[in-house]
């Protein structure tokens, strides 16, 4: 089938550089899309490990629903909303917003966008685990993929409000920098999760009668760490893959984007390492011992923190950003739980929200090209705009859903477990969990405490931040 050298005498070889680049770039984009899709079970395991055995089926169900309904919704609605919002907030035209639906050449790109959308939606799940009504969750995830997240993308990558051509971007003479979605994807999901956890209320037993938080251990730290590693694997797709151009065509000839790819890959790696290392050290410092779950959370926070920054910052800047994300996850979690009194089960606000905001706002500080004030202002404004939109939209949706279907399962269902109540199943039918541990959680600590041990003061670390 290949062109014979004899033929090439007659028809001179014609290799269009753009086609070569397109071919290579699309192989790359497809592969990283698959990796990002694989983050879905990563999130499922991360959350499943952090809930009690009786709620694992609900976690799995939410996660599958995010994907199976999310893709359908994002194809027929979400991706179009991106274009519309992008156009409306930059003075463009909304014509053709849904043209991709009938253009096969647009479908690889659509799928590449869809895996980011589903990531944002799935993040919410971890915050509202163990007590949210399944129907309410499903409706929320539908609105998340149909509107809440697409609007954020419209504001940014869709060329709208915060982009260089958008109303705010143009006013400040810069375009909002968030390379792979530290705020667009992660902070959006993390903030929506926080709001949802607030509206749904804390799990029974999460706060004692004095309003002090009481831990509710999950059923498997192993699953949480395995989920973390799967997420990190997918994240290479997420971050490095967003550098979707391997070969660029400039002036008719091909250029290899090796430096850009190298920077993105390196900063992702160092950010992850520094985030994990800082959380390990922080937990060892405040709890006396390095904690696997904190370390895993910090590793993810490090990744979130650099996700927007990877091509823009120096390698040591990336390591600092990642380290900062990892360092903040412990106090941010305690702030959420102890100050805001929000029962964010998997700490998604600390991991995805705070790290995403800080990492993205500080990009100009560590920029390869040096600090630019207008860019910094835009970054801060952008983070604020995205956060505000997400808070407002989530709140409206949640209020509506509360009156429509109710946000929360019954108290009885919550004690029995959502697996039985919402789905009629037992995830581990041969396993009778050791319910006793749960019921001893600090229940009669005061009276029976015979060890005279130290007070649980470490958990108040966030108060000092």
């Amino acid at each position: 089938m290949s062109v014979k050298s004899g033929e090439s005498m007659v028809t001179p070889l014609q290799v269009d550089p753009a086609t070569v680049a397109t071919g290579i770039n699309n192989v790359w984009v497809l592969v990283v899309t698959f990796l990002i899709f694989f983050m879905q079970p990563g999130f499922a395991l991360l959350e499943a490990g952090q809930v009690r055995a009786k709620n694992v089926g609900n976690v799995l169900m939410k996660n599958m629903t995010d994907w199976i309904l999310g893709t359908l919704i994002y194809f027929v609605v979400g991706a179009g909303v991106v274009s519309i919002v992008g156009a409306l907030t930059s003075g463009g035209s909304v014509a053709g917003a849904f043209a991709y639906v009938s253009d096969p050449n647009a479908w690889i790109g659509w799928l590449f966008g869809a895996v980011f959308a589903m990531t944002a939606a799935t993040i919410v799940s971890g915050a509202v685990a163990e007590r949210m009504n399944f129907n309410a969750y499903v409706l929320f995830t539908i609105l998340m993929t149909a509107a809440i997240y697409p609007v954020v993308v419209g504001f940014t990558w869709g060329g709208g409000l915060l982009a260089s051509g958008g109303f705010i971007g143009a006013a400040l003479g810069a375009g909002y920098l968030d390379f792979a979605g530290a705020t667009v994807v992660h902070m959006c999901g993390g903030v929506a999760g926080l709001v949802a956890a607030k509206f749904v209320g804390a799990r029974k037993g999460r706060y004692d009668e004095n309003g002090n938080s009481q831990p509710i251990p999950g059923h498997s730290m192993l699953l949480a760490v395995l989920g973390t590693f799967i997420l990190a694997f997918g994240w290479y797709g997420f971050n490095v893959g967003t550098q979707a151009t391997i070969l660029a065509v400039e002036d008719g000839s091909l250029t290899f984007m090796g430096a850009a790819l190298g920077r993105v890959a390196l900063v992702t790696t160092l950010g992850m390492g520094a985030g994990g290392a800082m959380a390990m050290l922080t937990s060892a410092r405040y709890q006396g011992k390095p904690d696997p779950l904190w370390t895993a959370n910090g590793l993810l926070a490090g990744l979130v923190a650099v996700t927007g920054a990877v091509p823009h910052v120096t390698w040591w800047g990336g390591a600092l950003l990642g380290g900062l994300g990892g360092f903040l996850v412990l106090p941010a979690f305690h702030f959420t739980v102890d100050r805001l009194k929000v029962d964010d089960v998997c700490g998604v606000f600390a991991v995805h929200g705070v790290a995403g905001a800080v990492g993205t706002a500080l990009i100009p500080v560590f920029a390869v090209g040096g600090f630019a004030l207008n860019q910094f202002v835009l970054q801060v404004v952008g983070v604020g705009v995205i956060a505000l939109w997400t808070i407002a939209a989530s709140a409206v949706v949640l209020v509506a859903l509360d009156s429509l279907v109710g946000l929360r399962v019954s108290e009885r269902e919550e004690s029995e477990g959502l697996d039985e109540g919402e789905h009629g199943v037992a995830v581990y039918p041969e396993f009778v969990p050791n319910e006793r541990r749960e019921s001893t959680v600090a229940t009669d600590g005061g009276d029976i405490r015979t060890d005279g041990g130290a007070d649980v003061s470490e958990t108040e670390v966030s108060d000092d931040e």
Binding site: G424, V425, V432, E435, S439, T440, T443, D444
Partner: protein, 116 residues
């Protein structure tokens, strides 16, 4: 009376354990041993399912509490459990008192009521 040793043995709901523990501590019998058990009684059977096929689970998860007492009357202990473990719904469980011939503490080697 006080040198008679009794074993108070109760089958209760798992989520009542912490109330029962508190009640026993208050009545002066903090030492106890608990076991995960399953029981059948008047409580209706539950239905389980696996891929939509249903099965009946007539054994419910319960917790067995054992508390051996000597100085404190067994009836006081039983009463404390009765009060703490009740929800007024089927499945609350039972308390039984059994005679104990002798008791020994492993650490000290003490025997009799003192060992309890």
């Amino acid at each position: 009376m006080s040198d008679e040793i009794k074993l108070v043995m109760a089958y209760i709901r798992p989520d009542k354990l912490s109330d029962v523990k508190q009640a026993l501590a208050e009545v002066g019998a903090p030492s106890l041993t608990v076991t995960n058990v399953s029981g059948r009684g008047s409580q209706p059977a539950k239905k389980g399912q696996w891929r939509g096929e249903e099965y009946t689970v007539d054994l419910h998860q319960k917790v067995k509490v054992e508390c051996v007492v000597a100085d404190i009357p067994a009836d006081d202990v039983a009463d404390a459990i009765l009060e703490a473990a009740s929800t007024d719904e089927k499945g609350d469980g039972k308390v039984f008192v059994l005679p104990v011939d002798s008791a020994h503490q492993i650490r000290t080697g003490k025997s009799g009521p003192d060992a309890v």
